[in-house]
Subunit: 366 residues, 4 copies
């Protein structure tokens, strides 16, 4: 199961310290313009080593288009993308190949397969997410050109710090994807202190999609929210997913939560733009919780391959907060889900024209 | 997309007020003993009308086994189950067929399909979940007989009320699936007050699966947690999903969250029994947030099919808290995911025997 | 794997002598008009007992629409159809429950599942094809209304007898679906002689689809011809499948086979309307070979469940040529494939408009 | 749809004249030993340019293992294989980029996608089959090590020439995969004459799989024969597929066709080792018909991209009979189907042990 999507199918492959990582995108509509350069921006946003606040692995992340593109446009055949690994330092990991790192997939891969690639976490490394971001470049482009859909994310919490203000224009101006520029020095100090202490902290990311027309999503088991939940939960370190108000609904009243409607459109967006698994035409809003990094300089108790107690200490390069650079990955997964649902909707309901009445998105948009 | 699962595939069909609802289970192993009586308990746990705290629709929920069972045992061919609808009162819904109820799927189905069955919510009714519970009876049985897996759930919050104590044996003794019997009178009063006020409230449900062996789950896009998230989010009214500590991880430190390991086993279970998308052998723990019922006696603003403003008031039977009877549905989805992953694991890794070292579940179990 | 299709998904269920057979159609576009009466004609064409030349089981084949249709039109939700078995005479089969009938699936089901329903062949009975024909009624209707596609079949050979003339209008006028009315008495005598002798014979069926636009079919592994081959081979008793000239191509020269093109369109149709797995806009032509019935009054050697030699003699009702009534089943499978491919094409290439030049179907049409 | 298989999933990518072709194998069991060298033999058997009787494109076909293998054994993660294109001469094809070659997929790709890569047939080139053969190396190895399955094929007819004798040991000793060594000079003369005349001819290939245990194959829509039919029909130029006696069954009597059983096993194998879609334990036998090459020195009438009449003459390198080197491709597809079915059987019926009685393969083996 290394394939994501039903009709816009992205199959990723590759290990952290293998010769390359890559993906095959099957089902992409023909005629989309694309070149190797088009992947640069989003891959740079996701990349490690951009600031001192993320892992110091430096990868060029140059995308080679192997197939599916002719004269700068997609042909409808599978698009294979390849990114060579150039800064994989296997020696960093030799010492811990014989242990099961707490909070990592070492033990579970071992139990599942009986044979594993321990170098840099092998297949379970976040390096795999590079290809999700790359594949989503095509999805974002098609969604935007065809429907005006725009997918944007931001960090919404880190430890106990939450944004005081909110401004989309601030988000891309700092390494945290934080929506309030005035808090950036505070966050930098926070990260520096964590790095110094050898510990880490969790984070929360929110992604908003504007321009999604009503009607996307397949009810029951292919619901738009169900697919978004699976997509976000498939990202390394994610332990929780919310749509709209998420867990806050537990303490809400029905009169508060249900988004009423007037002639000017929806009067609120507690639902996050999805009802019955289908988009309402409002802003689609989802959030994900990222656990704190498990690889730390502070020692942890574990067992080795012989079942003997060992102390695990991470000496290599790692993030004090993996959520810091996960915003582009969350955006990518949302874009892949929307792309897939757009094609699925067109397959079954391509006959259905503009249906009236159409309710305006109205209030609740960020 | 009315099919759930890859190898243990459950396809449900039917509308709230159609002649019947049903499902087809494809991929069930042969030789599982089953009879119509075996569905009674779980369907009764899910049923409406059991107490005054749930919707007053009364359905016999008699399961007819149409196929796939011969002489009391499954044959490996598809198992079709049928449940006739006997208490569907369409007249209750005639008045609102021309409006879009806030918080419901009326508008989104209309926009998607251009033609919809408005009676009782049609396909988007929670009545569909009857068949999930029925299908899960087979999954629970096979998982238990084959691996000793036990799947249990309970209500974990309703409005702002949380359990004071915890006792599994209390859960089945009250209509709320609440783990502290001493709080039941308080909850009953809470529900009565809500019903009287005409409003509703949300809830949170937690499901625990014991006995899941290490190694289940497909990394990357078929992760055990990813599939659980999709499964729970596919239930009507769910707006958030958590694995293990869920959103609490945002404020946790890595030294706290990562579950350390000693010779006696795992020392905690913040991860909820899943690492890298694969089970660790610990208790699998997931939670879901249910939004408050949207159908209320208190009027809401909306539009009708002509785009004109209307006031929507629900006069029929409805729950003050849909989460109250959702525990068996959450259990069912967890069981269906585990069943499917068990078969998927056996397909790819059936060669892999008992791998040492095996780490004991250890601490953190509820 | 009881589901056929990727986007127009038909899941069938039911055994020959169980309470009912049925299917669930998932992915049907909304708005298609349908009523129980609409299934009558095609089910009658497929039914046994219509003439003395087919098995004498008499089933009413009344279709109950359980879901997915509201006010006479499909809603986009799953359409469940149910047909009760009313003439299942289990006593006919008791005697042979302990043997493996040569040429039947008795032994293979036993080896695969370790538990089987022997009554009337259980799941492996041709009774299952009833639901394929029912599901195809919707596919045929949508394909015809939307694209003008027409799917028709005929018997093309029975034993060594081949049609002398060809007239579509003759096909529906005789119980053999034979395209030359003048040969019908000869065929009736042939069947009577076979029945008298206790033996059986094979047959060949050809299906033609007119009006298929160019561009349907997914290259490589979802080719239109690949899917047609799988579809026809999935019918009981089929042992060979051909597209266009089929096995005759082995002895053809390239100059003969390649269908040249002029301004008036294609100059021949050896390819059967498919190139590179994609429709050309010509008539799509496929054929299937049906093996002779294995259940015969003439004794056959076999083993019983204890591995002891037994003589198998069939005394119940059976066809001297199963191919005689298989034409509607072949048509159904072709229609299901085309429907599925139409939706798949629309999903990926819905953007692609009328592309010029468009080549006329031209010659080679029957 | 560039993915083949349900559980052993092979996704191929790449165009004839792009930088590389490749595949991703997902679902391979862990622990299979494999190295780049292991692909050499089968890729050489399939390669063009090995003799004067096949197209003169010379490719090194060096396989790079990108992922999924660690220390010489598969890890259970996706295995990506890459083969660079080194002898792609685009200039050969520039002249015909503006025409639709008769018998080729030029027109159908154009109509489907509205944008195509014309160089060497792009994605529709037989070059894609290189990766099928590569992927099948893993399947063949696992099937053989685990079950002793052996998959072998041979040319069974070319034009009107059929084998006079039959000897498996002769097959690999000549470039035609012909089972009677004494006829090889005759075939060489035949090919030389065809090449001289500028014409081509069709062929028939038969593949036999020994050692397949009873019970593989999923009844109804995932039948072993259905999947084999789809697999073979997915190969370029195939127009017909047969299982066992294939189209010969049309003229057979039931008493002849049904394979009787005695205590020594099956007494014949007209069924080709499959009943009810499930393997019987006998030799599995399938055949495919390959059409004659359409690219010829002899001119053909066609249209250009402006719809104007043109004469198409092929001047580049091409085969007089594409079937000559297709035997390894047919074997590969059979192996991929068997591998997939083996995993599917293990998923659903892994509980089912050795079931008695077991019938010996008996007669009918080649």
């Amino acid at each position: 199961m290394n394939t994501f999507g039903q009709l816009f199918r992205v199959t990723t492959f590759g290990e952290s310290h293998g010769p390359a990582i890559g993906c095959v995108i099957d089902g992409c509509p023909p005629g989309v313009t694309i070149s190797p350069d088009d992947f640069r921006d989003d891959l740079a946003r996701r990349a490690t080593g951009r600031t001192r606040h993320t892992s110091q692995r430096h990868e060029a992340d140059e995308v080679e288009i192997i197939s599916g593109v002719y004269e700068g446009r997609t042909t409808g055949t599978p698009i294979a993308l390849l990114v060579r690994n150039t800064d994989a330092k296997s020696k960093d990991y030799d010492a811990i190949a014989q242990t099961f790192r707490p909070g990592h997939a070492d033990y579970t891969y071992w139990q599942k397969y009986g044979h594993r690639d321990p170098r840099g976490g092998g297949r379970s490394s976040a390096r795999e997410t590079t290809m999700r971001v790359a594949a989503a470049v095509l999805a974002k482009r098609w969604l935007n050109e065809k429907f005006g859909v725009r997918v944007r994310g931001h960090l919404a919490q880190i430890g106990n710090v939450v944004p005081r203000g909110f401004d989309w224009s601030a988000v891309e101006g700092n390494p945290f994807f934080w929506p309030d520029a005035s808090q950036v020095p505070e966050l930098e100090a926070y990260m520096d202190a964590l790095r110094k202490s050898g510990d880490s902290v969790g984070a929360r990311i929110t992604v908003c999609a504007d321009g999604v027309p009503p009607g996307w999503g397949e009810p029951i088991y292919g619901k738009l929210d169900g697919e978004l939940a699976a997509a976000l939960m498939s990202i390394n370190a994610v332990k929780g997913v919310e749509v709209g108000d998420g867990f806050a609904v537990v303490a809400q009243h029905g009169t508060e939560h249900r988004d009423e409607i007037s002639e000017t459109g929806f009067l609120s967006n507690h639902a996050g733009g999805i009802l019955g698994g289908i988009s309402t035409g409002q802003q689609v809003v989802v959030s994900a919780a990222f656990k704190p990094t498990s690889s730390l300089r502070l020692p942890a108790r574990s067992l080795d391959m012989d079942g003997q107690p060992v102390e695990v200490v991470t000496t290599g390069r790692h993030d004090p907060c993996v959520g810091v650079r996960a915003t582009p990955i969350c955006e990518a997964m949302v874009a892949l889900v929307l792309m897939d649902q757009a094609l699925r909707h067109r397959a079954q309901c391509g006959d259905v024209g503009d249906v009236s009445p159409r309710i305006a998105p109205g209030a609740g948009k960020r």
